[in-house]
């Protein structure tokens, strides 16, 4: 069951990567980064159960905590950029 979960996560990762590479707008890429982060967290958790060490769950929780930093930074940057562009026009 955990193997099936891992396979599904990897398939989802491929899709998110494709969106990050192709994604025409910035928002597609932001979403892809965030999604890859979440999938890494889940993959670490699933890996912990596959290799019989459920204490990996704590590690993945900590990852989830730092995962959003990059996303928020990018969003703030885009917001500021847009505000500046609006002011100039």
């Amino acid at each position: 069951m955990f193997l099936a979960a891992a396979a599904a996560l990897i398939a989802a990762m491929v899709l998110a990567l494709a969106r990050a590479f192709a994604g025409p707008t910035v928002y597609d890429r932001i979403l892809a980064v965030n999604q890859i982060g979440t999938q890494t967290v889940l993959l670490i958790a699933v890996m912990g159960f596959i290799s019989g060490r459920p204490d990996f769950l704590d590690i993945s929780l900590l990852y989830a905590l730092i995962n959003f930093v990059a996303t928020i930074a990018v969003l703030r940057y885009v917001k500021r950029d847009r505000a500046r562009a609006d002011k100039q026009s």
Binding site: L3, A20, F21, I30, V33, G37, T40, L43, L62, A70
Partner: protein, 203 residues
């Protein structure tokens, strides 16, 4: 028979680890190529963030959880923020290069080939007779807790046995951080001043 079943399970786990390694490494290679390929620097910075997250996953698969933490916090967090600040100060689009950089390509491919060749001479992953395991590692493992009072061996080595080394590292990181802060700080201050002076000129 019980022993055999356990061995089977262990072998299965090793196979899963191997496949995960291969898949994650393919992802990492794809993100690296994409980061160079993309012309939009904002997109490149974000793809590099993905690269760091994938590397963090790879470190966890390799059982180096502390390295994975550093990779996720520094690579995906701090570096992305610094890149974004730098892009905000310079420009979003990469300049087109007219000439084909064949020589740098040949040099980097040659270096990569040499590194791959060098891995052939390395001991197996986790081999007990590898030089890294036979030099001072047994001493640290046996005496570490008694000598330093730190239960985690890695922490004992980093903070006690190699304390001066770590102090030097902290100095380097502190200096680099100060440099980045000074660079970004002075650039943003100039930028903030620039529009007001332009307005005065037009007035």
């Amino acid at each position: 028979m019980d022993e055999g079943a356990r061995q089977d399970a262990r072998q299965g786990r090793r196979a899963i680890d191997l496949y995960l390694n291969i898949i994650l490494l393919v992802f990492v290679a794809a993100t690296g190529i994409a980061a160079v390929w993309l012309r939009n620097l904002l997109a490149s910075a974000m793809v590099l963030g993905i690269y760091s997250l994938l590397m963090a996953g790879l470190w966890v698969v390799l059982d180096a959880v502390d390295v994975a933490f550093t990779e996720a916090a520094v690579g995906a967090g701090v570096t992305t923020v610094l890149m974004l600040l730098a892009i905000a100060l310079t420009g979003r689009e990469e300049k087109r290069v007219r000439t084909r950089p064949w020589l740098p390509l040949a040099v980097s491919l040659g270096a990569a080939g040499l590194l791959v060749y060098a891995t052939l001479g390395m001991p197996d992953f986790g081999a007990a007779d590898a030089p890294a395991q036979t030099h001072v590692a047994p001493y640290y493992l046996e005496r570490g807790e008694a000598e330093t009072g730190v239960p985690n061996v890695v922490t004992a080595v980093l903070a006690s046995y190699r304390g001066f080394d770590t102090l030097g590292e902290v100095t380097v990181i502190f200096t680099a951080g100060m440099g980045v802060l000074v660079l970004l700080g002075s650039a943003t201050r100039r930028r903030r001043k620039a529009p007001t002076s332009a307005k005065e000129d037009s007035a």
